[in-house]
Structures are given as structure tokens and as C-alpha cells.
Symmetry: C2
Subunit: 207 residues, 2 copies
């Protein structure tokens, strides 16, 4: 059996999968890519993930990418850790809906701050994208705040969605969001940040 | 039990969920929103989906959004239709990885053609985004083409991922992609388009 290996980089969404692996009690190796030297675009890494992104999880079945898929997979491989609803399609879909919103809308809004070159070449356009990030991220935070009853994303039960929200909520101040307007998100972030698995992942990830 | 209701709009990604519901043999009502009059931002619809987007699926358990979550939910609610891998966490994750890529990367690239105002206010920036769409969508098509062994996304087995790829692949020409470079995607699109459930969904959706 291949030992699992998680490819990460500090400050990226790969922290969510890293947290989930520790919450699950998984045994795995961590590989940190240096985005400063564009290691995610190296031939070696593109052979692992042709998208040139993290996270990528090497498992005994093959290599998996895309955070919502990875989080559900980790939860399903370690059912005793109870990191996702089981035998309840609607509750599972609620979790996937939340994770999908983080991936397809919130993370995308955030990416327009430093990754605008993905979607336009013109320097002025990239600057115009950057300028809107505080507003798009505030709109996302409004939507999350309204739904976040707590203590966890799914209510009474911790799940992989919590580590994912935590990962993205750490970006809010840097994205120009006034977090004082979002007390539930801040309280959730503190609650998740106090968990041993989360502290361990942050220490290992280096940010 | 509440009768299920799918909110859609012609030409949008909601077709993927519409196809999945017919493939599943589900009994549901269809509600078509007119994006021309911004019906998706009406108070009535925002009460259903505060994101102001389609698809939204009203079920007896509650309202669900986000295409990858909806597709997996529909598949799990109708297991006899065999629209997703069961009891195989890795195969399920492969499907979710593919659907997640369509949602978070491919659909997002496409959205920069007509929805640039989501990420910048400046008209020149929005035009710069639009100009890059043929290249970003071609890069996405390259990645999909390389992995699409066929006949279906998951290989020998049809799944909800096929209706989703079909939905997005219909956008390629309009996005300025030279589809002759992508024979597997085109063949897949024809294969999916020939299915009765897909033809029925297209006829009902009006595009």
C-alpha cells in the first residue's frame, strides 16, 4: 500500500485537507511546494497534478485533487473520526454545498487579489480586479455569517467543512474585510483554531 | 412530502441538474427564471436562494444549491439509476474531483465572458477578461481532453458527471474555442446529447 502524501503550500487552501487528515488520524507524508519559485509549475509536480495547483493527495488508489472532493474522501476513508454525515444524503449534500460555495465562489473571489493574471493579461485589469476583492469577499462573508448558526458549520457536529471555512476565514483581513462585522465567523475561527489537529497542521504547514 | 422543484434558466449550468433528474427518473416541477429581467435577483427568488443563482433544488428536506452537491445528491437519492459510484470512496471522489473542476475552474473561466462585473467594475477590465476567455477555456479543454478516455467521464459507466461535462462543453464554441482540437470532448458531447433524458431536459429548458 502506498503511503499517502499531501502536497501543500503555506497560506493556500491545502491547509483544509491537511487539517482533515490530522482530524482523521491519518498517517501521511507532507510535501511543501515553494510557490515563490513556482515549484507548482515544475515538470515533476505537473506529472502529479497537471493543473499545477495544491492540494494534491497521493493515495493508494491514485492521485486526487479539488478540495471538496478530497475532504469528502478523507472523511469517508476514516468513518470512525465522524468528519462528515453518513447514511444521510441530504446532510452530506448540505456539507458539499457549503464546501462547493467556498471553492467555486469564495476562493475564486479571493484569487482575484493575487491571481488576476489567470483571467486577464492587462495590468490595469488585474489592478481593477484586486480593487474589488474587499467587496466580493465581504459579500461572501455576509452570506456565510447569516447561515452560520454554530458551533459548527453543520450545527452541533464538527465536519471537514469547519477546517475549510477556517482556512478561508484566515484570509479575510488580508482581503480587506472588516471582520468586526462578522462575529460568528470570527468565533468559529477561534473555535476551530483551538483544536489540536488544526494547531498541528498550521505548525507543520508553516502558515 | 414536498414535490421537488428545480429552478433553472436557459443556457446555464442548471441544465446539468435537470439532466440528472431525468436520468434518475425523478418526478419534479421545473421553474424557469428569466435572467433577461434579472428574475434571479428578485426578492421571491432570493428568499429561495440568497446567492441569486441557479440551480436551486427544493426538496422535502430543504433547498440545495451548488451543482456538484446537487448532482451527488440526486444520484444518491435514486441509487437504482446508478448515476454515481457507490460503496467506493475513491471512485466517488474521482467523480467529485471532475465535477469540482468543472464548477471551480471551467465554469469560472467561462463566467469571465459575460459576468466579469462580478470581479471588477471598470469597463476596460471587464473587456480584458472577456478577451482572455478563449485561452482559458482552451486550456481547460486541453486538460479535460487528455483525461477523457471514454466512453464516459468515469470510463465504462455513465454518471452525473457526463451531463455536467455535456452542459459546459456546449459553451465551447461560444467561448471562442476551436473544438476541432478536442475530438474526444466533441464525441462525448454527441454521445450524451443522444440520450433521451438529455434531449428531454434540453427541450424543457429551452436551451
Amino acid at each position: 500500500m502506498t503511503r499517502w502524501k499531501l502536497y501543500t503550500s503555506p497560506g493556500t487552501c491545502s491547509l483544509a485537507s491537511h487539517i482533515a487528515l490530522h482530524e482523521a488520524g491519518a498517517d501521511f507524508d507532507l510535501v511543501k511546494l515553494d510557490f515563490g519559485t513556482m515549484q507548482q509549475q515544475s515538470a515533476d509536480f505537473l506529472a502529479i497534478n497537471p493543473k499545477g495547483r495544491v492540494p494534491a493527495l497521493v493515495t493508494d488508489g491514485g492521485i486526487l485533487t479539488e478540495t471538496p472532493a478530497l475532504l469528502a474522501f478523507i472523511a469517508q476513508c476514516f468513518p470512525q473520526a465522524r468528519l462528515a454525515p453518513e447514511n444521510d444524503a441530504f446532510a452530506f449534500a448540505r456539507m458539499q454545498e457549503f464546501n462547493g460555495y467556498l471553492a467555486s465562489t469564495v476562493h475564486v473571489a479571493h484569487a482575484h487579489k493575487r491571481r488576476g493574471a489567470r483571467w486577464a493579461d492587462d495590468a490595469a485589469a488585474i489592478e481593477a480586479m484586486r480593487a474589488k476583492v474587499p467587496r466580493t469577499m465581504t459579500a461572501c462573508a455576509n452570506l456565510i455569517e447569516a447561515r452560520l448558526i454554530g458551533p459548527w458549520v453543520l450545527g452541533e457536529r464538527y465536519s471537514v467543512a469547519d477546517g475549510y471555512l477556517f482556512t478561508i476565514a484566515r484570509w479575510l483581513e488580508g482581503d480587506g474585510v472588516d471582520v468586526e462585522r462578522f462575529p460568528r465567523i470570527v468565533a468559529h475561527r477561534e473555535r476551530v483554531g483551538a483544536r489540536p489537529a488544526v494547531q498541528r497542521a498550521i505548525a507543520e504547514a508553516g502558515g
